[in-house]
């Protein structure tokens, strides 16, 4: 039960980047300098904002700071923010390594170009923040890891209802036209979170991050720049050290679930715990910090803040939390495995519910896919 869950005290280390995943990445040699070294005296710091395999919602979340964004502009010269302004990459390339104080990077990594820019920004930046659920965990686009590039291409260019493609034309990384050659970047088989590609200093989860937490980040940076306050320890997840259940306004009665109900079938009483009403809700296994926005409009949590502190695999812990809340109408001790299986089978799409935002960083990471991959290395998602 989430309310009984004791978070390890002082557990500042993030669980966004499980060790075994980190060790599998290729960016170990790109060590970030210590942020403390960057404390400027009076001068403005330099910042960069960039989007990878993202939707643009993270950029919008920054615009949604409204006038408060002036607090950021007051202490920082923004060197790059492609969605809003015509900033130059060659300026970034020309800068000395480490001369950008902080980069906010949103989106995961799914093609050659994004990977190149991520590595470039790592080199130029003292602090890299994985901004938003996609950079932290792969996010919803990470659900593409149930297949691979060929699976995605097959759907998009061959089998969608409205596609007319009798000659089986598939986009190519290099293509001859009468005047010359056109190229496209290579799309990877799988989505990776940012820390699976480069070293990451801080994690700001959420899809997109919420104002309260963005302002925590801004406050930390402003305090650092203006007053020389120390930055949080490397690896900090900028959210709360508890589960979402502890932020939830709904009433919890420690009632057990007799039947799984899908949200569109629910006769909501608008006050009691959605999970206790039978709806799959990830509040129990999701880090707090969003003020329960979805639940306040009567929709269950889908986990965009990632696992609670101390957990490695949000999906696995959701499954075990929910299984332990099932009511099979008899004494727990008499439940057979078949009883439990029958009830759990009512969860029609465990992958889509439990790993909605974290498939790319879960212990599963990706499916082998129904199509042959580019390389037979068996290491999906890595740079081709």
């Amino acid at each position: 039960m989430a309310k009984e869950r004791k978070e390890p005290k002082g557990a500042k280390a993030p669980r966004a980047a499980p060790k075994e995943v980190k060790e599998a990445t290729e960016a170990k040699d790109e060590k970030a300098p210590k942020p403390e070294a960057a404390a400027p005296k009076g001068d403005k710091i330099k910042m960069a904002i960039y989007w990878g395999n993202a939707c643009g919602g993270c950029d919008v979340s920054l615009v949604d700071l409204d006038a408060k964004i002036l607090d950021v502009v007051a202490i920082a010269d923004i060197m790059l923010w492609p969605v809003a302004m015509d900033f130059k990459y060659h300026d970034v390339e020309a800068m000395a390594d480490g001369s950008i104080t902080a980069t906010l990077f949103n989106g995961g990594v799914k093609n050659d170009e994004t990977e190149h820019i991520a590595k470039l920004l790592r080199k130029k930046s003292q602090i890299v923040v994985a901004y938003g659920a996609c950079a932290c965990f792969g996010g919803i686009p990470g659900l593409a890891n149930i297949t691979n590039r060929e699976g995605v291409f097959d759907k998009s260019y061959r089998t969608t209802f409205s596609t007319v493609n009798p000659d089986n034309v598939i986009p190519q990384t290099e293509c001859q036209v009468p005047e010359g050659t056109l190229t496209l970047p290579k799309i990877h088989d799988h989505v990776r979170a940012l820390h699976q590609v480069i070293d990451v200093d801080y994690y700001l989860p959420g899809c997109p991050p919420v104002q309260e937490r963005i302002l925590d980040l801004v406050g930390a940076v402003v305090g650092f720049v203006k007053e020389g306050k120390p930055l949080p320890p490397k690896g900090t997840v900028i959210a709360l050290e508890k589960s979402l259940c502890e932020e939830c306004p709904r009433e919890r009665k420690e009632k057990r679930i007799a039947r799984i109900v899908r949200i569109h079938e629910l006769k909501d009483d608008y006050k009691s715990c959605l999970l206790e009403q039978g709806v799959i809700c990830l509040g129990i296994s999701t880090r707090a910090g969003c003020s329960a926005r979805c639940i306040k409009v009567n929709m269950p949590c889908r986990g965009c803040f990632g696992p609670v502190p101390g957990d490695i695999d949000q999906g696995a812990s959701t499954l075990s939390a929910i299984a332990s809340n099932l009511d099979l109408g008899q004494d727990d001790l008499k439940n057979t495995e078949a009883d439990i299986e029958r009830l759990v089978a009512q969860v029609r799409d465990p992958l889509g519910y439990f790993y909605r935002y974290t498939l790319a960083t879960s212990l599963l990471r990706y499916s082998r896919g129904e199509y042959p991959k580019d390389s037979e290395k068996g290491k999906g998602g890595e740079s081709p």
Binding site: D59, V83, K88, V169, K186
Partner: protein, 508 residues
């Protein structure tokens, strides 16, 4: 396609290749490849979209009702459009219809979304080219440059109303970016009278703000002869078919209605129910872009040409205002008439006039918004209709950037069996490619590929407010612009790095 580079010399050897990669101030990623002949004139220009995410594949197997919470990540700038198209597809797929209260709340959210999104485009994305100038220093061609021109007081209004649009979405949908309240047969969130009063306060003044923005457009753009010359230059126009959702009076309806298509002559060519879209629209694939191209099936794919014999059509503000017989609100109606009469009376083919059309829609949405919040019946708790047996459903809305189609097939358990998404910008993709080619030919001469000239080429796509995140169901990073000048042997003779990324040769 052949992938061998070392074949016998082809015609391409004669041309210099200029890459604009990426194009900027839009949502998503695109690049432009321009081929110049020996005299520095444009031989051909190609527009490419370099990403694909594959939403149509990975929604399969998910519970139908959950898809409305997944597809908004196609685009974080217009998540409301995807959430709404999805919810409407689910209405049909679950054989239900929203209750009257639920429909009003959805429409209210949608009007708030238009207030936010059209304001964002004019002041942040497309407008800087006019307000600051197409060839102004690149460091000023952005919202800060706009603020410098229009002053802090106006900037405060822009911040306020863009934000109010977002706050309306958040109140009704939980979050402004990626709202969650849409369910088959209704919405999850009812509102209290107190919340309605909050909505009244958020909507208040949006009509006046929209009228003010139209005045800014008149003063800065329409009173400037060089801009008017550019807008009315036939090389910046395309004669295409147009598409948009209309109500029963043939007025644009962003949330619901039938799809109307008019020809280049302005006459109605087609009108169909959303569920019949596959009879009329198909998608074509080219090997050099990850994004597909839609066309009218009745005419067919005839390549990158405009005119009545080509199946290419256009959507977004210009498309919607061209399929309209009138507008649904009085102030927008008077501006619509003014635009039509100023620009020739019939359908407007001038691509850059899309900016004007967009602001008329901003006014239309604001008038709708101010009226909807006054309706006291929206506080009813009757927000959910019963659902029926799962099956197939099509939901069509007008995203800010054009007609958006979500089509789902559910199994008997209501799980996703198949999906098809035709998004706003895909509908405009062929026309955008044409507009870019025409613009390149119009403005690049004697090999002039300076920053200002290339930015002027980029204005061709900015008019459409494209979202290539949507178009490829992907939103990759936007990359900077670089120009390579290549000699006949393909070697790089010079590099004009506007945004200086070095692209590395890709493996074949």
């Amino acid at each position: 396609m052949t992938h061998e580079k070392d074949t016998a010399p082809h015609a391409g050897g004669k041309y210099k290749q200029v890459s604009i990669d990426p194009i900027t101030r839009l949502e998503g990623h695109g690049k432009i490849e321009i081929f110049l002949d020996d005299a520095g004139e444009v031989k051909e220009a190609y527009f490419q979209v370099p990403e694909l995410r594959g939403f149509e594949r990975f929604v399969i197997g998910r519970p139908g009702e959950e898809v409305a919470r997944i597809v908004p990540r196609i685009c974080g700038v217009c998540p409301v459009a995807h959430h709404m198209a999805s919810t409407k597809a689910l209405d049909m797929a679950f054989s239900t219809k929203p209750t009257p209260t639920a429909e009003k709340l959805r429409r209210l959210m949608y009007a708030g979304y238009y207030l936010y999104d059209h304001t964002l485009h004019f002041y942040f994305l497309g407008g800087p080219d006019f307000v600051v100038g197409p060839t102004a220093p690149k460091a000023e061609r952005n919202i800060l440059g706009v603020i410098g021109k229009v002053g802090m007081e106006t900037a405060g209004q822009v911040i306020k109303y863009r934000s109010n649009g977002q706050k309306i979405i958040a109140l009704l949908g939980g979050k402004a970016t990626h709202p969650v309240s849409g369910l088959p047969g209704g919405v999850s969130k009812f509102i209290t009278e107190e919340e309605r009063e909050t909505l009244v306060a958020l909507a208040e003044g949006s009509v006046a703000f929209s009228e003010f923005t139209l005045q800014v457009f008149h003063d800065i753009v329409l009173k400037n002869k060089s801009y008017v010359d550019m807008i009315t230059d036939p090389r910046w126009a395309l004669r295409t078919y147009y598409m948009g959702l209309v109500n029963d009076k043939n007025q644009p309806d962003y949330y619901d209605g039938d799809v109307r298509v008019v020809g280049p002559d302005g006459k109605e060519f087609l009108k169909f129910k959303p569920k019949d879209y596959l009879k009329h629209i198909a998608e074509h694939v080219e090997p050099y872009s990850y994004c597909k191209y839609t066309y009218l099936k009745a005419i067919g794919w005839k390549g990158f040409v405009d005119g009545p014999d080509s199946g290419i059509y256009r959507v977004a503000p210009l498309g919607r205002l061209n399929v309209a017989d009138s507008m649904s609100t009085p102030k927008a109606q008077s501006h619509w008439k003014e635009m039509r009469s100023t620009l020739g009376g019939g359908p407007v083919h001038m691509t850059l006039a899309t900016h004007w059309a967009r602001l008329i829609e901003l006014l239309n949405a604001s008038e709708t918004l101010e009226a909807l919040v006054q309706d006291k019946s929206i506080v009813s708790r009757d927000i959910r209709a019963p659902i029926g047996r799962p099956g197939e459903g099509v939901g069509i809305v007008e995203a800010a950037r054009g007609t958006l189609i979500h089509h789902y097939v559910l199994d008997e358990q209501g799980m996703m069996k198949d999906a098809n998404l035709i998004v706003a910008t895909t509908n405009n993709h062929a026309a955008i490619s044409l507009s870019i080619r025409n613009a390149a030919k119009a403005v690049i001469h004697k090999g002039d590929v300076s920053d200002g000239t290339l930015n002027t080429v980029e204005m061709a796509f900015r008019a459409y407010d494209p979202c290539f995140g949507c178009a490829t169901h992907a939103l990759p990073g936007e990359l900077p612009l670089e120009v390579h000048l290549r000699g006949a042997d393909g070697s790089v003779m010079g590099t004009l790095a506007r945004d200086g990324l070095r692209r590395h040769p890709k493996e074949g």
